[in-house]
Symmetry: D3
Subunit: 240 residues, 6 copies
């Protein structure tokens, strides 16, 4: 049963394990927001590149449409993929706030420092993230987007993953004069606190940032504009 | 049966009538390229907004993947939606050139004049097109993006559609000092020649432009880069 | 006495009446955050232009420095001037989040629509706000910055102010295809709800947005980066 | 005698040898377009810097004007200098498509990958090419512009030139995550195929790209806009 | 005979009358700089569009090269065409400061106000000026570029020219919130003072601005960098 | 007593020694402008970061206001801090030209080369200078902003300072293909000539550049626009 006032957190990929791990990690931390977790069972198990993203966006949009037609009384939606795939379409089919973890993380970073470094997984995701950064207007704030070369699904099982990411982050922050580190994949969420302590700079987990943004916008009575670009889809007038 | 050297023209929407109309119009004109037309039967009948686009991108990607696994010997693909939905994903799953009609039309326009006006259908498509224009780096070349307020599916059946578009185009070209007109929807393709004669400026139909671009790139032996962002999708290493 | 967990809301101008009015309006609405209000008694009574802003920034920075040296246990600071004057300096002298109402309002707007209209007071503030918009990377999201020509200190006492602003907002939203309205002065805060109902688009009051942002960032354990540009001021090594 | 349907390929420099070499190389490859080659005998023998470019632009414009007044029935013009010098003026004096090899190469590259590397000859040409890249709106697509430090006129006679360029290209593609290589000088045209095979990324020769673009635009009935910036030069009304 | 310390003022067009008129107007005003005037007798009598500009750039570069080889001891060069045609090439062939009147006028304007309006002659010059504005980085400062539709050579003989320009300027300054007016053609120089008095905003004549800039740079010992892009042209190594 | 025609040079920091040193250095060089030097005794002794800058801007604005109300007949004002702190406010309270040394140096650099390197003191100043560069529209001209890591107040007393800066400058110019060096702190002014000789590129001292700019603008009768953003501050209409 869905509780009024919850936030729907949708992992647009198809990995039930990763979704469960996110739920465990976040329910442990969160004291102010109730969360309900979803995943998209027909999506690829991780989102690495444009075609993964296209599939995930499709299933995410279907799921949000379904939740809306079921009369979800949630405060809003979090899209748990750093590429923010499907966020625009989800905004269109709901009037509640819909926030992607990439957008939330990067915009929050700009309140805390003049430049951020994004640590993503594979190099192929870098151009996708950079295009988002340009679309969000954050080119001047982005010091670098760095790939750890550890695939999403190895983040949990590779025993050296944490150390490698810590080291790469230290090097990049120093080389590019980064002031804030952003974790560029939901699969790194559980390392946020530890990295922040070791690096001595704010480390932003997009999951927490996006949940906080939905709570904040909802709390002050704001919702997605239904004028023009995020208006509900048109009814098609088919010729007979 | 598929002929070697054809171009696969994919209408990512679900309208068989519109696809047939495109085929009729283009086969009539084209003397140098052989074309094979497809549509995406599970897509919305027209693409007006982000969620339509997300669905269409999904079905387009599935179709290109299928054609590739069937061993298509086509020269390349044309994506027949001015929003260029799904083009990036299609580039990822094929090594042949994949060209969207929006991108082709707008880049061709820059060879012919210093500023262009795009005439689209509904206002809700304007922010989508403007985001593409920014991503393609064409802000300085775009004089205006104008909506005719005639939905895609009424373009053929509204008897006043042509006159309205002609008048809106004249006004916009004059007001914004546009030097080239771009038809912002495949459904206007058949008016290209007539509008060009009446307006006295180059009028670009993205269908013809994209077909010409695939032919041109293929003709000089160029194909999509398989390094980094358009590499074939990763094989997922699932934990057991 | 200061309560732990409060947010310090600083009006950088010198108007006690405006500050009281803000406090009345916000304490009425806010259910989740405790607020403590301040004003800068040596600042100009309103901030309209660069020299007003320079004075206000100075007094704001002094006040934040004082609160910090008094050991404030607040969650963070809100700077209640839409020009975001002094925000960078305040970030430097505190490690808590410091959020200006202009930055918060405009960044929140980007989660809700593809374009916003800012309604400010005097035309002379427009270039200041536009420069901030450029610095925040929001040029592509800003449909227009409009001046009502009603000075800050007349917002409360001009009986026609509300109607004039409503009408100007309607016109601008329609003309520039704005999807979200932003109130470009703390003195319009109390109209947010009414305007939102009448206009049918999200209307953002920077006061509420900035308070929500401080609460959100603080709630997930994020604070201002003390590396590089917002590091505490240097101790000067004076030659003897 | 001039054949209808040819493309006029103009080398704006004064080197008959380089022009002959281009003709040999391209006539060998081209199966779909007939080409007529020209050079500008009063131009500098190579174009390296602004004053070379200014002279070449002048002679190019004179030559196009002459060909037009001779009633050339060509499909259009290719300007065979990667700096695209004189292209705007040539567009003004003809209504046929006029395409520079730099513009064609770089715009074609954007259809094939998200980032390109340009390999030019001397460092002094880099700022010229970068300015063009900015004017064409391609900053976000350009990973790097690299100088081989081999002057144009040594490309053919320096036995180590090919190896040096191959090595520099490999390093730059890897370091800057380039997905496409662009040959930044017509004098490297004949290496396109070999480099493409050895590097494993698309390698674009602007000569082939520009010829293909003229053919493509001409084939779909498009010509230079004669409204506003590329209108034929004004008749001067001299005071008597 | 050339006096040491003069500034060479070169009108790149071929109009001796216009050059004489500039000389009369400026020698009357100037109290601090000695000027020597030149024109380019083989250039078009006015510069309106790209091909005029290409010719003028050529003759300008030849003239500066000649003056340099004659051992000119001038402080520097002013290029008296608002399109700044040939300025880059002239910088290459001299080590003295070379300043175009467009660049000088627009950069000086940014010291005096947050936005400027440029009043040029014909609409066809607008895209050329806008491209320069983009290259100089002044997009954010440019409120508008307006054409008076009075050709250069009619500025002096059209009795209504002044009134028309005054009226167009007033309208544009008000509509676009311009704070400074820039005269976009050397032929309007003599109206600077009168327009400034009547309009109540700074009015900048590029001739005076460029002369002042050459004097200023020369006065503090600065000259054109001879490293990289403005290095003297290469000696060509011709194969034998 | 103030002489008509002087330029008021205001060091916005509180260091009398540095101000005296500037006066000594500049009065020695300057032959065409009379200068009167000021400092802001309540400002921090050096300006390193945002809060120093905010304090200095305040005291600078107070001083300019005082000089104006004293009826200063100066030609204009120079703000002797490379961060250009307070320049906008000073422009508002005076109608004379007000020029910051950062803005003057960087805009002068663009007349002399296609790219400049700024050598500043501490890394924390880099984001401030980069924001100014973006606001001035000079991103495309800036090759790099480099910190010497020598604090302002050590520039004079650190015996190795000059050598360190020379070496860092050489490296940066070579690595980033810089064509002009800019001294990013008034405290380096006296090294301009020596560095220029040793480096072989133009080296710009903002002090000399700004003084020259005030002289130039004043000499041709230009002053700050009093329309809109730099209009004199509003009289506040306080409710009774």
């Amino acid at each position: 049963m869905m509780k009024s006032g919850m936030i729907e957190v949708i992992n647009p990929n198809g990995s039930v394990e990763m979704t469960q791990s996110l739920a465990d990690s976040l329910n442990h931390n969160a004291d102010t927001q109730s969360l309900r977790f979803h995943y998209c069972k027909d999506s690829p198990p991780s989102i690495e590149g444009f075609s993964d993203g296209t599939k995930a966006a499709y299933h995410l949009t279907e799921l949000v449409t379904q939740l809306e037609s079921d009369g979800s009384s949630a405060k809003g939606y979090v899209v748990a993929c750093f590429d923010d795939t499907g966020v625009d379409a989800a905004r269109e089919v709901s009037s509640k706030p819909v926030i992607g973890i990439g957008e939330a993380a990067m915009k929050c970073a700009t309140y805390l420092g003049n430049s951020f470094v994004v640590m993503t997984t594979l190099q192929r995701s870098v151009p996708i993230i950079k295009r988002n950064i340009a679309n969000y207007g954050l080119n001047a704030h982005c010091a670098a987007v760095i790939a750890s070369d550890i695939p999403v699904l190895s983040l949990d099982c590779d025993p050296e993953a944490y150390e490698r990411i810590l080291e790469k982050a230290q090097t990049a922050l120093s080389q590019f004069h980064g002031e804030v580190l952003i974790l560029g994949c939901a699969g790194m969420s559980h390392w946020q606190k530890k990295l922040q302590e070791e690096l001595g700079v704010p480390v932003i987990d997009g999951m927490q940032a996006a949940i906080a943004m939905v709570g904040a916008l909802s709390g002050i009575g704001l919702s997605t504009s239904k004028i023009c670009s995020y208006a509900l889809p048109e009814k098609k007038q088919l010729a007979e």
